[in-house]
Symmetry: C2
């Protein structure tokens, strides 16, 4: 592969129309100041065989790469702007696979209003390794942090939980479920849905927020740690899809199964905290944006993340995955 021509053919179209990218012909990108706004920046790396499966279609790998980074922006109440991409290609990633990969980027750029601003292309003797730096905007001081929760704030989560856990199991042939559910779960694992439409709700009502990448319990615990509080989570209240509920009903140990869903990671929902008096308004705002949210717990003065089941405390071995 001729790297120079490959970059021109695959990536320059993804930067077209972005003055920041300087046609991908320069040493750097240049982002003009936007007075009154903060630039929100996140950087996630994905490694083949660790964060996605070796056989995953190249376009879906590209879309997951953008979406896990967009999910971080979503949880911060930020509006997507653009991104830098570093690719370390193994020899097996020939021009055909790279073309499919670029097509996945192009599709989600259009879906989310993104442009490629720059990056780096290198080769590796190891697995495909990808790194995105994603940029977004919030009005000055409006970014929703992990650290703003108050004791007695209510904990809510968007969408449904456990799809990432079940999706990985389905994608690796370890799940017992009907074919349609298998396909749907695997699709959720491969192409998560960043909850960007929650932006208005989060900016108006959330005292703290995080995206659910490590597992609901783990990411709620991150909010707790950053806010110097504890978290009480009712496992009974965790929102599940109809398919997940059906799967759960087939499990011998429903508590263990529910715990697996709540600690499995890769859901890319948003867990956030809201003062008690604003919960109804926050839920209405979220629903109006097309994303249902569910109350799953509350912040406590006592440190630690404590899951409850049928009103009784439940000890879990692991709150989530650290994605290491």
């Amino acid at each position: 592969v001729d790297e120079f021509n490959s970059i021109a053919r695959l990536f320059q179209p993804l930067a077209a129309g972005a003055p920041e990218a300087l046609g991908l012909l320069d040493d750097a990108a240049v982002l003009p100041a936007r007075p009154g706004y903060d630039l929100v920046v996140t950087k996630d790396a994905l490694v083949e065989g660790v964060h996605f499966l070796s056989g995953d279609p190249p376009d879906l790998i590209a879309r997951k790469l953008l979406r896990v980074n967009l999910s971080d922006l979503a949880a911060k109440g930020a509006e997507p702007y653009g991104y830098l991409l570093a690719t370390a290609w193994p020899a097996a990633w020939d021009e055909g696979r790279r073309t499919l990969f670029a097509a996945g980027l192009a599709r989600d750029q259009q879906e989310f209003g993104l442009k490629l601003f720059g990056g780096d292309t290198v080769s590796t003797p190891g697995p495909l390794t990808l790194c995105v730096t994603m940029f977004g905007w919030t009005p000055e001081g409006a970014m929703v942090k992990r650290s703003g929760a108050q004791a007695q704030d209510v904990v809510l989560v968007s969408g449904v939980i456990g799809e990432g856990h079940l999706g990985l199991a389905a994608a690796t042939g370890r799940l017992t479920a009907d074919d349609a559910a298998q396909v749907r779960f695997a699709g959720r694992y491969r192409v998560p849905e960043p909850r960007l439409s929650l932006r208005a709700c989060l900016r108006q009502f959330a005292t703290a927020a995080a995206d659910v990448s490590d597992g609901l319990l783990a990411d709620a615990a991150h909010i707790g740690a950053a806010s110097e509080l504890g978290v009480h989570i009712d496992l009974d209240r965790i929102p599940l899809s109809a398919d997940a509920r059906l799967w759960l009903e087939g499990q011998d140990d429903p508590l263990a199964a529910l715990t697996a869903l709540a600690s499995g990671g890769d859901d890319y929902e948003v867990v956030f905290t809201v003062p008690q008096g604003h919960v109804s308004d926050a839920a209405l705002s979220a629903a109006a944006s097309g994303v249902p949210v569910t109350v799953v717990g509350r912040m406590t003065a006592q440190a630690g993340c404590r899951p409850f089941y049928h009103g009784r405390p439940h000890t879990v071995a692991r709150l989530g995955w650290s994605h290491d």
Copy 2:
């Protein structure tokens, strides 16, 4: 390795005092607007065995990682601000090696006035893979691009050329030179010197600039391509260190050897263009900042990069390395 504790122990001290980093406890970093300034952003990835040697000391790998990114800022006339770091650790990179790596980051953070703003830590079954996103500032519109050169502009280069090429040869035991020269060359390869002190000179006088990472000829050609011009380079005028000159004198084919130095890459000098009438002032400004610069050629209306030797055109097989 417990990733959560490892991040806290190794990386949180590198983010101390940077409000942008939010204590590395959040999903994202937040960069406040700096009205009147542009944010210059570059992203370089380094792979073990491709961009550095497997046995290189961890602290020197960390310093090279920062410095190759800082070199991009230097060539753009930008002032360093901070960075995001993604590390994909192989299993062999235990806490001891990571601690040395973090010490290298700390040392160069202090040297260059940088803070860590955030990033990602993952594991890999492959080689150590590192990716930095480096941020810098220039006054609005003042970034020195690759695309601004004019025909007849003079081409200058900072410092000396060929140290990267000789340094890699020394570090891999393929160089014939005395011990002191070997050590010095290898040091230049492992810990390059970003030419940040050229900032005032570049902002005032340069019409275009690039850092010399792929090779002097290749990077001069990048300026030519971005500016839709050609480049004439006099190989006879390329600045060399005393050690490099001694090495050159020992070579059977001095033209081939000189070409190797001019296309070897990893020099991390700055190649830039200046209108003819400003060359003396630019050279004085650079010298005043402690960095000598040398005239090595000029921009031409005819496209292509043409090296000359003793006044005659010389065809080279390869202008440089694409660092793929």
